[in-house]
Symmetry: C2
Subunit: 423 residues, 2 copies
C-alpha cells in the first residue's frame, strides 16, 4: 500500500549536514520509504496523502542507553554520590521487579512515555529478572518501540539484586528462549565489569559468539569506577580490555558513557567498531565528568546518545540532544575546541541511532519509516518567518509531548493526535 | 475573607532548609497568609477549604532576570557567539517592538506563559520602546504577574535599537509618568555599561536617587565584555565601579550574571546590598562561563535566579533551578567544593526572589500568598510511598505546565485547572 506524508521535512544526510525540504513529500510503500520529494511525482498523484500542513517531519529519536527499571525513580536522588544513589535508589527499586504485576504497570507507562516523546528505537537495560524483562519487551512491542533489551547479568557487588553465577546463566538461556518479538530483540547485558565474575563474563562471551548476539555494558563512567576495575583485573591495562578478554568487545557492542576513555581506549573502540553511547544529562547529574565527544568522533568512534534514565533526569531525547550541546560547550569553555552544533547533536540523537540499527543517516529509500511529526505552531510568536533549520533548533529546545502530532515506527503510525489540541 | 488551602506544603524557612507539612493548611485572610498549620485550628473549622488533595503546595517561582522582547526568539541562535547572536537575533527582534500591535501579541503570550509555568514575580527588561513597555506592564498586570519592568536605556553600541541620549531620558520620564499599575512597577534599566554614554548613566543615577527607583543591569557576563568595559572606563579598576561612579550601584540593584566577578567585586556587592542574578542556562548556552554561586553566597552576596530568556532557552523556572544545580556540579567537578543541593537551588529560584520583594523565606504570616499547586500524580509510578522532599525534587526535574493545578499571585488565585486533565 502506498502512503504519502506531506510536511516540512528535515533530516541529516551526514554528520553535521542538515537538509530541509519545505512542504515536501515522503512516499512509503508498505511502510518502506520509496523517496523524499520536493514536489509530488506524477505517478503518485492519485494516492491519498496525509498532509501535516506546516508541521515538521523529523527523524524519530533513538535512545541507546537507558535503564527501564529505574523509570520509577526518575528525577530523584540527584544530590547523592553514585554509590549512595545506587544503594538508596537503584538496587531497592530494581529489586521490586521480582513482581510481574508491578513490572507490567511501570513498563506500560514507560513504553507509552517513550512513544509519546518520539523515541522509536532503544537499547535498554532491564533488571536481572527474566519474567519482568519479557514483560518489558512485550510492552515495548505493543506500544511500537523497537530495538534491543537486555536482561541484566550481575553475580557480584549487586546488593539486593545480585544473582548467582549459575542462576544468571540459566536465566539468560530461559530468557533467550522466550524472546520471540517482532521488533524487540535481545542483547547480552553484563551490567559492568565490577558486577560480573570472570566466570560469568567468560560464559557470556561464549554465548555472544555462539548465537551471534549483540552486547551492551558500561565503560569508563567515573574515576573511582576505573580504579575499581583496575583492582579487579590487574592484568588489564585499561577498562575496555576486561571486556575484550572475554569476547565481549565486539563489533556493534554498545558502551555507555566513555567519559574517561583516553586516546588508547578510544582507538580500541574505533578499531573494533564498538559504539560509545554518550549520556550527557547523567554525566552531569552524577558528577561523572564530561565526555570527549568530538575527540571520539574524530578518532572514528561511532557515537550515539542515551538518556540513561534514571542517572539522566529526562526521558525525552530532544532534551538529551540539547544536554549534549551544553556538555560540549562546557568542554569547549574548559579545554577549547568546537562545541557540538545543533545539526551535529540532532544527528547523534536520531540518525546515529538509526544507523546503529542498519538504517540510513537521513530518510533513505528502502528503510522503514521512523519519524516524528512536530507541530510548533503554539511556540512563542516569531517576528518573521523562520527558516526550517531555525524551527528545528527551536523544536529541539522547546518541544515536549504536547507538540508531537504523530509518530512512525518501523513503517507503522504508532501515535496520532488531532491538530490544535495543545494548550 | 478567610480562605483555606489544604495540601502537602513545602517551603524553605532558610537557605538550605526544607520544611514539609503533609496534608497541611494554609490560612489566608484577604489573600494574606495568617498561618501554616499541620492540622486546622478550631477557629477556622467552619471556613470553606480548597482541598488540593495529595498535590504539592509550593512557593511560586521568581524570575529576576529576563528580556521580554526576546521571547519570540526563544530556543534559537544558540550556536552563535554572543556578538553575532546580538546582531542576528536580539537587535532586529527588539526593533520590532516599535509596533504596539506586535508587542501586544507577544507580551500577552509571554504573560500567560509565565503564569502557567508558575512564575509570579519578575524583574524584567523590556526594549527601549516606551509604548511597548507600558503594554508589557499592562499584560503582566492582567495575567497576574507582579514585580518590576524596565524600559531599556541604550544610547550607544545598540545597532538598530539604539536611541539618542536626550530621547532616552525624555522617553524614560514619559514612561515613568504612565506607570500606574498596581502590581507591576518601574525599574531603571541601563542595558549595560557599553551601551550607555557617561551622560546617560549620570542622568539615570540622578533619577534613581531623586525618585528612589530601583536599578537593574548586567555585570561581568563574559570575558570580552569585561575587557570592553575596561577600555571604555579606564578610570575604573573593575566593572562594578562603572555603575558605582554614577550612583547606579545601590542597595537592591539587580546585576545579572556576575560570572566573572572576582572576590573584590563580590565584596562590593555584599557591602552595598547589590544582588547577583544567576542565569545558569544562559551562561552555558552563550559559553559565558560558570558563576561562583556558593562563593558569592558565602561572601554575603544576595543571589536569586533568572531565566535570562532568550540567552536562556527555558522560561519555566523549575528548569532554571535544575540548570543551577547542574552548573554548580560542573563547577564542583572543575574546582572542587560542594554543588547546590535541591533545597538550596529551590530556595534561590523561589524564596530568594520573594525576599527581594520583601516577602519571607518561607510562607510567612503577613505576606500575600505566592504559591503554585503541583499535581504529580501522572509522573512515573513509584515503587513505594515517596517522601515530600523526594516529590519536591522530582517535581523540579520533571514538572511542566501540565502538572500545575493552580497558581496564586499576591494573594489572588490567577490560574486554576480541573484535576486529572493531564495526558
Amino acid at each position: 500500500m502506498t502512503a504519502i506524508l506531506r510536511g516540512n521535512i528535515l533530516h541529516t544526510p551526514a554528520f553535521g549536514a542538515l537538509e530541509a525540504i519545505p512542504r515536501g513529500y515522503l512516499v512509503l510503500e508498505d511502510g518502506v520509504i520509496q523517496g523524499v520529494y520536493p514536489s509530488l511525482p506524477e505517478t503518485f498523484a492519485r494516492c491519498p496523502a496525509e498532509d501535516y500542513g506546516d508541521a515538521l517531519i523529523l527523524r524519530s529519536f533513538a535512545d541507546l542507553h537507558l535503564h527501564a527499571p529505574q523509570y520509577p525513580m526518575l528525577g530523584m536522588g540527584m544530590d547523592l554520590p553514585l554509590l549512595a544513589w545506587l544503594e538508596t535508589y537503584t538496587f531497592p527499586v530494581e529489586a521490586r521487579f521480582q513482581d510481574p504485576d508491578f513490572a507490567r504497570v511501570v513498563y506500560r507507562a514507560l513504553a507509552e512515555d517513550l512513544i509519546s516523546s518520539g523515541t522509536t528505537r532503544v537499547a535498554m537495560f532491564s533488571s536481572r529478572h527474566t519474567d519482568a524483562t519479557l514483560i518489558l519487551m512485550e510492552e515495548l512491542e505493543r506500544a511500537g518501540v523497537t530495538g534491543l533489551v537486555g536482561k541484566v547479568n550481575m553475580d557480584r557487588n549487586g546488593g539486593a539484586v545480585q544473582e548467582g553465577t549459575e542462576e544468571s546463566l540459566s536465566e539468560t538461556l530461559r530468557w533467550l528462549e522466550h524472546c520471540r518479538f517482532e521488533h524487540v530483540k535481545p542483547i547480552l547485558t553484563p551490567r559492568f565489569t565490577p558486577s560480573c565474575t570472570d566466570g560469568l563474563m567468560e560464559a557470556l562471551g561464549r554465548l555472544a559468539a555462539e548465537r551471534d548476539l549483540p552486547v551492551q555494558s558500561h565503560l569508563s563512567e567515573n574515576v573511582s569506577e576505573g580504579a575499581w576495575v583496575r583492582e579487579l583485573h590487574p592484568d588489564c591495562a585499561q577498562y575496555w580490555e576486561t571486556y575484550d578478554k572475554y569476547g565481549l568487545w565486539k563489533k556493534g557492542a554498545l558502551m555507555a558513557h566513555c567519559v574517561h576513555s583516553d586516546p588508547r581506549e578510544q582507538e580500541a573502540m574505533a578499531r573494533s567498531g564498538v559504539w560509545a553511547v554518550h549520556c550527557p544529562a547523567s554525566n552531569v547529574n552524577l558528577c561523572s565528568g564530561t565526555a570527549l565527544v568530538r575527540e571520539m568522533l574524530e578518532r572514528g568512534v561511532p557515537v550515539a546518545l542515551g538518556s540513561d534514565i534514571a542517572g539522566g533526569d529526562q526521558l525525552a531525547m530532544n532534551r538529551v540532544i540539547t544536554a549534549a550541546i551544553r556538555a560540549s560547550k562546557v568542554k569547549a569553555m574548559e579545554a577549547g575546541g568546537a562545541f557540538l552544533t545543533v545539526p551535529e547533536a540532532y544527528y547523534l540523537g536520531t540518525a546515529a541511532g538509526h544507523r546503529y540499527f542498519g538504517g540510513g543517516a537521513g530518510f533513505r529509500a528502502g528503510d522503514k519509516l521512523h519519524a516524528v511529526v512536530v507541530d510548533d505552531s503554539t511556540m512563542p510568536p516569531p517576528v518573521r518567518e523562520l527558516t526550517l533549520p531555525e524551527r528545528l533548533e527551536r523544536a529541539l529546545y522547546l518541544m515536549d509531548k504536547r507538540h508531537i502530532r504523530a509518530v512512525y515506527s518501523e513503517g507503522r503510525r504508532v501515535l496520532v493526535r488531532g491538530g490544535g489540541d495543545q494548550e
